[in-house]
Every structure is written in structure tokens, then in C-alpha cells.
């Protein structure tokens, strides 16, 4: 059996083909890594105007019923109960050891919560959430909805909304009723749009017909999110990494850090009180040579960590990376060596994002 025989397709599969998308397996789906314009052009176009992304492989679900927010808080240190209607927030699902099971978005839609989880983790996340629900709260997966992101500085004028950054609500685009949030994974302003699968292609075509909107593949999505300093689950986050090590302490609500009533709280509390041995940092290699994931990081000849995501940043015009280093080597501008093909490539620990965020706060 080959991969292609078991790969799932999104509702935009035929559109990708028509647009000349180069399809690759990703998280069990056949997804476009790029279109004929290429990763560099798609990346730069998204920062200059607008890029359209099919992210329908991601998991969407609703959590419905009295006490849904409190139930979800058993698994996440995010403050879900304080989330106001029409607002969305980034959070982490944790395990007993304080490790990250997934990162996700949760939104308050008034009468229910709306969740978006990673494609590669939905088969783990949804049963996990299901397992902590009290009677009266139900989890409803939404496999019949597609997810389309449109990102870039042109989006605000193309699709005017009342939403501010991390706002969410029902709007109409080209006569199609959708659920849109002003958020994304590129560091740019833009929308993430949940739409019924049978309306997804019509919506995508309407968006692509707007001036300055270019189809953008997973390749540019990856370089855009890396420049924005945003984590990719499976690369930068995993079940052995705590929110403190991942430098995602900001995603844990203040109230949650007084109550400590989420799974893995003991470990997270210990990491906050006593410090961590390693920390996620940004890394700027000197010169033009990129350092990829799994590159060993050394300082004074000793291994002190590993790159988890790395590549060339088209907007930065130089290689960029993130990874984990020993706490005492994690200060900005600390000199480190990246072991690329047996040679030490000099690099510096760098603040993130590498390219400034341009959210509509």
C-alpha cells in the first residue's frame, strides 16, 4: 500500500489541481506544498498583499453545554472561562507530565465553544477532551467543515469586518455565511474562515477572484510562521516539552496559575518556580546557509540543544531557526554553533519574531 492510496483530500482538492498545486502528503492529507509561483514568491506575496491557504485538514469541533469551559480547563492552563463571547484564544492541551499534547485555538461563540486543533493530533485530542467531559457537555467534531485562511495586509480592505485581532463571528463573504476569526499563522493580519465543506470551493474561488489574492501552499505557510516565531506541533512542541520550556507561559491564564487545577499542573508549577533546564529560543545563523530541524547546537564544543525548525526566511532575507538550548545559553545574542554537515556554523540566539507581527489589535 502506498501513501497516496490512504491519503485524505480536502474539499479544495480539485481546485488545488486546477491551480497547479504540487501535492504532498501532510498529516494524512494530500496538501499543496506550493503552486507554480513557488514558495518564495508565495511567501513574499502574502506579506505584501494576501495569500490564500487551505487548512481544511485541521480539526474543528464544538463543545456544547453548561460547564464546557470549566471541563476544557481540566486539560489546559488557558483561561477559557474568562473568554468573552466573540473572542478566541490560543491554548495548550497538557498531559500528566505537563507535556504538550497539542496547541489549539478556542473561541467563545456565546452558546458553545469552537475549537481548532492540529490535523496530526485531532485523533488524540478529541478522545482526550471527550474523556474529561461531565454529563451535559458534548463534543461535536465538525468533519463537514472546511477551513480557509486568508492572510496579509490587503485582507482588511478586501473583507471589511468589525472583528479585531482574535475576534470571531459569523459574517458573509460573497453571499456565503461563514464563521471567521481575525487570526492566523503568518504574523500578518487576516482571517481564518470556517465554512461548510460544500461551500468551500465557491468561497475559495470568490476569495481568489479578489485583487491581490494568491494561492499559497504549506511551504510558504511554514516559512511565514517560522519568521513570525510561531510553533509547529511535532517540530517545536511535543509531549515531552512543558509550556515553560516552550516559552509559552503567556498562554497560561493568571487565574489558572493561582488555582493549579489542570492536568500536569505540578510539573508546570515546578518549572515556573524552580526554572527549566532548556528553553525555546530564536536563532539567527550567520551567513546564508540555513540550519534545519534536528541540527545539534553546541557551545564551546559541548552539545547544548537542538534546532526544531529552521530554514530560509524570505522576508528576513537570511536563514532563521528556532530550537531548544540550555537555560544558561538562552540569552539574546548568546553565541552558539550549529553543527551542519559536520561543520560548526556560527549563530546567535535572537529575539522572535524575526519579522514583526502586524496584527489588527
Amino acid at each position: 500500500m502506498t501513501d497516496s492510496e490512504v491519503l485524505l483530500e480536502t474539499p479544495l482538492a480539485s481546485l488545488h489541481k486546477e491551480l497547479g498545486g504540487r501535492m504532498v502528503p501532510f498529516a494524512g492529507y494530500s496538501m499543496p506544498v506550493q503552486y507554480p509561483a513557488g514558495i518564495m514568491a508565495e511567501h513574499l506575496h502574502c506579506r505584501a498583499q494576501a495569500g490564500l491557504f487551505d487548512v481544511s485538514h485541521m480539526g474543528q469541533a464544538e463543545l456544547i453545554g453548561e460547564g464546557a469551559a470549566a471541563a476544557l480547563e481540566k486539560l489546559t492552563p488557558a483561561d477559557v472561562q474568562a473568554l468573552k463571547p466573540g473572542r478566541q484564544r490560543y491554548g495548550l492541551l497538557l498531559n500528566e507530565a505537563g507535556g504538550i499534547v497539542d496547541d489549539f485555538m478556542v473561541a467563545n461563540l456565546g452558546d458553545r465553544l469552537f475549537l481548532v486543533v492540529n490535523a496530526s493530533r485531532k485523533h488524540i485530542d478529541l478522545p482526550l477532551i471527550e474523556s474529561v467531559l461531565p454529563s451535559g457537555v458534548t463534543l461535536k467534531p465538525l468533519p463537514d467543515r472546511a477551513l480557509i485562511a486568508i492572510q496579509g495586509p490587503a485582507v482588511a480592505a478586501l473583507i471589511p469586518t468589525n472583528l479585531t485581532f482574535m475576534g470571531i463571528g459569523e459574517i458573509e463573504i460573497a453571499g456565503i455565511k461563514v464563521l471567521a476569526s481575525r487570526s492566523g499563522y503568518t504574523g500578518e493580519d487576516g482571517l481564518e474562515i470556517s465554512v461548510p465543506a460544500d461551500k468551500a470551493e465557491a468561497l475559495a474561488r470568490a476569495l481568489l477572484a479578489m485583487p491581490g489574492v494568491m494561492p499559497t501552499g504549506l511551504g510558504a505557510r511554514d516559512s511565514l510562521r517560522l519568521e513570525a516565531g510561531l510553533c509547529l506541533y511535532g517540530n517545536d512542541l511535543d509531549e515531552t516539552t512543558s509550556p515553560v520550556e516552550a516559552a509559552l507561559t503567556w498562554s497560561m491564564g493568571k487565574r489558572r496559575r493561582t488555582e493549579w487545577n489542570f492536568v500536569g499542573a505540578d510539573v508546570v508549577r515546578d518549572h515556573l518556580d524552580n526554572g527549566v533546564k532548556r528553553l525555546r529560543v530564536g536563532i539567527r545563523p550567520e551567513g546564508r546557509q540555513p540550519a534545519r530541524g534536528h541540527t545539534v547546537i553546541q557551545k564551546d564544543g559541548a552539545a547544548i540543544g537542538e534546532i526544531t525548525s529552521g530554514g530560509f526566511g524570505p522576508s528576513v532575507g537570511a536563514p532563521v531557526a528556532m530550537g531548544y538550548v540550555a537555560r544558561d545559553a538562552a540569552a539574546d545574542d548568546a553565541a552558539i554553533d550549529l553543527m551542519v554537515r559536520g561543520k560548526a556554523l556560527p549563530a546567535k540566539v535572537s529575539p522572535m519574531p524575526f519579522h514583526p507581527h502586524r496584527y489588527a489589535r
Partner: protein
């Protein structure tokens, strides 16, 4: 100018007076995508056919470039270091990688343009 030959590793070879100019094919640059970095060999290095001698990196991935013949590296295209995009724009011209002074005969398995085109078709 002599006929261009091609390797199964997607290098092209153009022989002129015992020296082969070598680069990657249009198919290879297209598969790689936008090239952002090249690591070229030292001149004077003696190489054997199939040996990894250069590295080419696109936004997404790194790939080795192999010596398609035995011989000695006599020149490298230093202009690629500052402008690696030449490899995408003109892979069989300004985007050449290095020159090897041939030692012995050309390997039998090098293909002509039609043979290489047929080979690429078999890769799907």
C-alpha cells in the same frame, strides 16, 4: 559546443577539451524550488563519480550535488554564492556549479537529452 549529457542524479555535463562544466538540470531546479544557498567544493579536490561534492539548499530543503565523473575540480562558479537564484533562472547556463578535469573516460550510463527526458518521465 559539445552535446550536453545527463546523469541519473540530475546533473548535466558539457565537455570542452577534457574539462566538463557541470550543473543541475532544469527538472532538478524545478523540483527543489527557490535556491537560497550553495556550498561549492574546493578547487583542486580530486573527486570520483557519485561522490557528494556540493550542497544546494532551497527554502524548504537541502540536497547534495554529486560529481557525475571522475576527475579534479578545476573551477567553481563563485557567483552562485551571492546570487544562488541563478540556478533557478538559468540552470544550464549561468547557473553552472563547477568544472571537472576528466580523469579517464566518461561513464557509460550518462544519457543524452532524449534519454534523460525519458528517464524523468519514469520518475512520475
Amino acid at each position: 559546443m559539445s552535446e550536453m549529457k545527463f546523469s541519473k542524479d540530475h546533473e548535466w555535463i558539457r565537455m570542452e577539451g577534457g574539462v566538463a562544466t557541470i550543473g543541475i538540470t532544469d527538472h532538478a531546479q524545478n523540483a527543489l524550488g527557490d535556491v537560497v544557498f550553495v556550498d561549492l567544493p574546493e578547487t583542486g579536490r580530486v573527486v570520483t563519480s557519485g561522490e557528494a561534492v556540493a550542497v544546494v539548499e532551497s527554502v524548504k530543503a537541502a540536497s547534495d550535488v554529486y560529481a557525475p565523473i571522475n576527475g579534479k575540480i578545476v573551477e567553481v562558479n563563485a557567483a552562485l554564492v551571492d546570487d544562488p537564484a541563478k540556478i533557478n533562472v538559468e540552470p544550464t547556463g549561468e547557473g553552472w556549479f563547477f568544472k571537472i578535469e576528466l580523469d579517464g573516460e566518461l561513464p557509460d550510463d550518462l544519457m543524452d537529452a532524449d534519454g534523460y527526458a525519458a528517464y524523468v518521465d519514469t520518475l512520475g
